[in-house]
Symmetry: C2
Subunit: 391 residues, 2 copies
């Protein structure tokens, strides 16, 4: 196990009805003027928006609103939010939505405390020094942004999707009510579940040894998602499985599963090009890329893939065919994706060969030597091969 | 899953050498005068005390010191600490030691901000409204007090051991270096491991349904302790297994395993009478009481004990003999305790029948109807029966 620092400072309020205390909580946390940031019409259709507004008004908390966040949240709306907040004197931001809304909110929060271009934080020109407090009301279990240090924004100027990781991305508090996910479209439930297990797997595949506790916790979380996501897919209003999924979403990405180990994150960045260029859902991109990444890299550590096979899928480890055991795990993962009607090939989402090399070259490669990945270091050529495997 | 609130605000610094930054950290967190609180001679023998003092001096942080904390920490020393801190203007407390030292420190921190008798918080006369910030340098994986909301103190006036749970018990930061545990006596390693799995099991045995994620995380943690504690017992200086044990100690009791469910805690309170009256180590008391508690209560939910058997001990669930499967788990648990030379019977620690009824009557029964336990409600008579089973 490697040395690490860990702090998960987001206060969680979990369960039925918790969103109704949002006004009181914001007041208690010192908010005087709040940006109420959200996406499309669903929060209005379901009545959530009105209840939030009622709660703010009852607590005497002033607010301005900005809707229109789309999946793969756009930099242009972030700029608009920063401008609005500066003009109106906002001192606290409330995200009502999923990962895209929360990430858009985090980016606005950073931009509000920065004189330069907020994109600087995403393209590596600057690091966040100060931010504005953010709270969230979550409406979909997926990105884990409600408790994470992550934020991903797409710059429409070139369709570049980039992440910015900083402890200042952690929300002050998050309100997680599984009931709010009851009206989710089924494909969003599936995409979200795909994102959750991807966050766990990016941490699981490591070269760091003696990581028993984080291995066991991660396997337990993936099993929980594997068992409960199909129930949520069948009926998103089934409270109890959705409660498992919502809490897994937070735990999969607040880094409790990742401390003390080198993590991978190649699949996420390889996927970011896909959803950046083709605007497909992130979860669908991950269900395509992760199996291809595994097929390309499993030989790097067959015992770890065997452990994954056994602990996550109850596949018996065949000591005479360890490679076969590893491949069974990849097969089982693909079958699970398919059980949620998630794509596992680029062709299923209408993506062909034409831009694979361009994307492979554009994949963010943070290792410093032109590669990406903590488990196996991947060059642009490797990324291209993985795209090809996923066709 | 039940509604819950969760916040784990303790910043963790984990790994080799982390304790050497304590002076800088205290300064950064605003400490001007620190109480350096510790136990017996071991922190001086190992050189840890001198290194902490050097770090404080280098950072220009003033301090006063108070040693002498014993296992089952005494109220009299807490009083002494409060008096010393008040006289010298201490505004930050640093515990250097294990759970007893940390709990003594927490109690002093509360007493420092309270005009009444600090024991009021432990006998239920008052609740903590304000406390002084506490940091810790952990020297034994056991109580989890380095990240928990718990604090247990023994009042020598009647040998009454009582806990006080409050979010104000959470340390501001904790420095966890497994190397500091390298010189632990073997029996302390065993007692600590017993305490860790007890914290997990008190949460595991619940009547709350649909708790898959916390079940899986808890089973994973218990397995990790079961596998690594024997290695630490054999050689406490073996860094990697000790690192697993240290991190498990914190995770087992910061309540990440317990959110959203009713917890039990009968075994802890039944044990508290034992170690309060006979001054035996808490971990040894737990390895005696927990199997007896299980034998007395397993019929309340045989499927849950079967799940425990299967997921923790890999015992195959016999559908024709579910009760037999449950009993196998209790047997396996006893065997594990014995592998660490922990007692599983009162007779092994020289305790006979004479004071069992007195202790059974004195067990704290917080349910309000004269019973204790969230899984099975236990009366004084039940507590007596459990003591008898443990003879």
């Amino acid at each position: 196990m490697l040395n690490f620092e860990f702090l998960s400072p987001t206060k969680i309020f979990f369960g039925r009805g918790v969103e109704n205390q949002v006004g009181d909580l914001l007041k208690q946390y010192g908010a005087t003027k709040v940006l109420l940031h959200y996406g499309g019409g669903s929060v209005k259709r379901t009545g959530l928006f009105d209840r939030v507004v009622d709660s703010l008004k009852a607590a005497g908390v002033e607010f301005v609103e900005l809707g229109g966040v789309k999946p793969n949240p756009r930099l242009s709306l972030v700029y608009e939010g920063i401008k609005l907040c500066k003009e109106t004197g906002v001192d606290f931001l409330l995200a009502v939505g999923g990962g895209s809304v929360i990430d858009s909110t985090k980016a606005i929060a950073h931009g509000l405390q920065y004189d330069g271009d907020v994109w600087d934080f995403f393209c590596g020109k600057a690091t966040v020094q100060k931010s504005t407090p953010v709270a969230t009301i979550l409406t979909i279990p997926a990105a884990g942004s409600e408790g994470s240090n992550s934020c991903v924004i797409t710059n429409e100027n070139g369709n570049i999707k980039r992440g910015c990781s900083t402890e200042l991305n952690r929300p002050v508090f998050s309100l997680l009510n599984p009931e709010l996910c009851a009206t989710l479209p089924k494909n969003q439930v599936a995409n979200g579940a795909s994102d959750i297990i991807a966050h766990a797997m990016e941490r699981y595949f490591t070269n760091t040894t003696n990581v028993d506790i984080t291995d066991r916790l991660t396997e337990g979380l993936i099993r929980t998602v594997m068992e409960n996501a199909p129930k949520c897919y069948k009926d998103p209003s089934d409270y109890e499985p959705m409660a498992q999924l919502v809490w897994c979403s937070t735990l999969a990405h607040n880094n409790i599963l990742g401390v003390g180990r080198v993590q991978d994150w190649a699949s996420h960045n390889i996927e970011h090009e896909l959803s950046g260029v083709y605007d497909i859902p992130h979860g669908a991109g991950l269900s395509i890329i992760f199996p291809a990444w595994m097929k390309y890299n499993y030989k790097h550590d067959i015992p770890r893939f065997c452990q994954f096979a056994n602990k996550v899928f109850d596949i018996t480890i065949d000591p005479f065919d360890m490679e076969g055991t590893a491949l069974k795990a990849i097969d089982a993962l693909e079958k699970w994706y398919k059980s949620l009607d998630l794509p596992t090939r680029l062709s299923e989402v209408g993506i062909g060969e034409d831009r694979l090399m361009e994307m492979a070259n554009n994949v963010k490669k943070p290792n410093g030597d032109g590669t990406i990945g903590g488990f196996v270091k991947l060059s642009s050529e490797d990324c291209y091969n993985i795209y090809k495997l996923a066709l």
